[in-house]
Symmetry: C2
Subunit: 228 residues, 2 copies
């Protein structure tokens, strides 16, 4: 049984990778920069995305897609920013895949869109295997989750372009050991950029927005490299 499921899974991943590459080309052709966010449930992805939409919406045409097993809760929260938001409900599926993004875009892609943010289902394991055609993938990790998470969930850190430590306003309340976390990220993914912020206080958002701007500006280069 084991070999068969592995074979099926690899076929699915292969199909996903093909579709993700097509999506990436399509985003690139349309001039859309795509950043995706993965984390545990409750790491603060939605609050982080709310503030990111508010801070970027004034100068950029931004939009968001958000994946959850059930409910429109997150989309409702995010729409308060004024940006177009598309909820993808996955039922029992524990991650977003390229086909879901493709289908969502088919029926919904705001005209003149510049930056698209994709919030994955809260899951620190399965989303690692699915390329969504994004240009930048950020893994979020809150100070309340424990400093050992990079060691225990290495695959998600291996697919990310940046790690974002969230809820730093709670760091002292939870006895967060910053050095230990930074060391653990470095052990799993040497050189991975790490940002630290709080969506509640806004601390660290200037650095995050500057990072986003640089990633978006570097995009044609990245896309050229990928396409070569």
């Amino acid at each position: 049984m084991r070999p068969r499921i592995v074979e099926v899974r690899q076929n699915i991943l292969r199909k996903n990778d093909v579709l993700a590459a097509a999506l990436r080309a399509r985003f690139e052709a349309a001039g859309v920069f795509v950043a995706s966010f993965v984390s545990s449930p409750g790491a603060g992805k939605t609050a982080f995305l709310e503030r990111t939409l508010e801070r970027t919406g004034g100068t950029r045409r931004v939009a968001a897609m958000v994946g959850d097993l059930a409910t429109e809760c997150d989309a409702d929260r995010l729409r308060r920013s004024g940006a177009p938001v598309k909820q993808i409900t996955t039922g029992t599926v524990c991650h977003l895949d390229a086909e879901m993004i493709d289908r969502a875009i088919e029926s919904w892609m705001p005209a003149g869109l510049e930056w698209l943010f994709i919030e994955n289902v809260g899951n620190l394991v399965c989303p690692a295997s699915y390329d969504l055609g994004e240009t930048l993938r950020a893994v979020l990790l809150s100070v309340t989750e424990g400093e050992d998470k990079p060691l225990k969930y290495p695959s998600i850190f291996n697919t990310a372009d940046v790690a974002i430590v969230t809820k730093i306003d709670l760091a002292s309340a939870v006895g967060f050991d910053r050095d230990a976390l930074l060391q653990n990220v470095e052990r799993v993914r040497p050189g991975l950029p790490i940002l630290e912020l709080s969506a509640r206080s806004g601390d660290g958002f200037n650095a995050w927005l500057a990072f986003l701007e640089r990633a978006a500006a570097a995009r044609p280069l990245v896309a050229g490299t990928t396409g070569a």
Copy 2:
């Protein structure tokens, strides 16, 4: 492709269910009460289990199995309680299944064991589908994760026998809305028992241990019902 993966998945689940039923019968015959814990990464399962082992180890023969993608971190922490602990590393697999438990027991089952605790991989989605042969399944949810989690991850709440709210010592620091969480659990699983505790302060552990004792005492009845 979709129908094929669904078919394969159902075969695996069927195989898992058969094996889990055999495991349950075996635990019952050996007089072992088994409780499993599922949650997001970082909800505090290991700290909760550490204190549970410390509090029960004096009067009961207890042991623990703990699932993680990688590392022996959790087993090392739990062994400090003095209880036998078995680490199961799953590689890239996002959940424990009955076969992993079966294999672990084959090579490791302390003599005279009374209570076995199983800590699943940190994942609020996939473990819902896998019966481990446990008598009691608890879903843990920390006050830092947001009150909307039951609505967004209903399947895991539907397979649990009790919900445990963790890290209540942080409730005021994070602005935890207790009423909202209780209502959301009730919406998804009317009547599900809910316990609230802190592994750091120890608050709520007396009620949890009393709950465990009742569940263990009620076990022959439950097993009789299941077996009939």
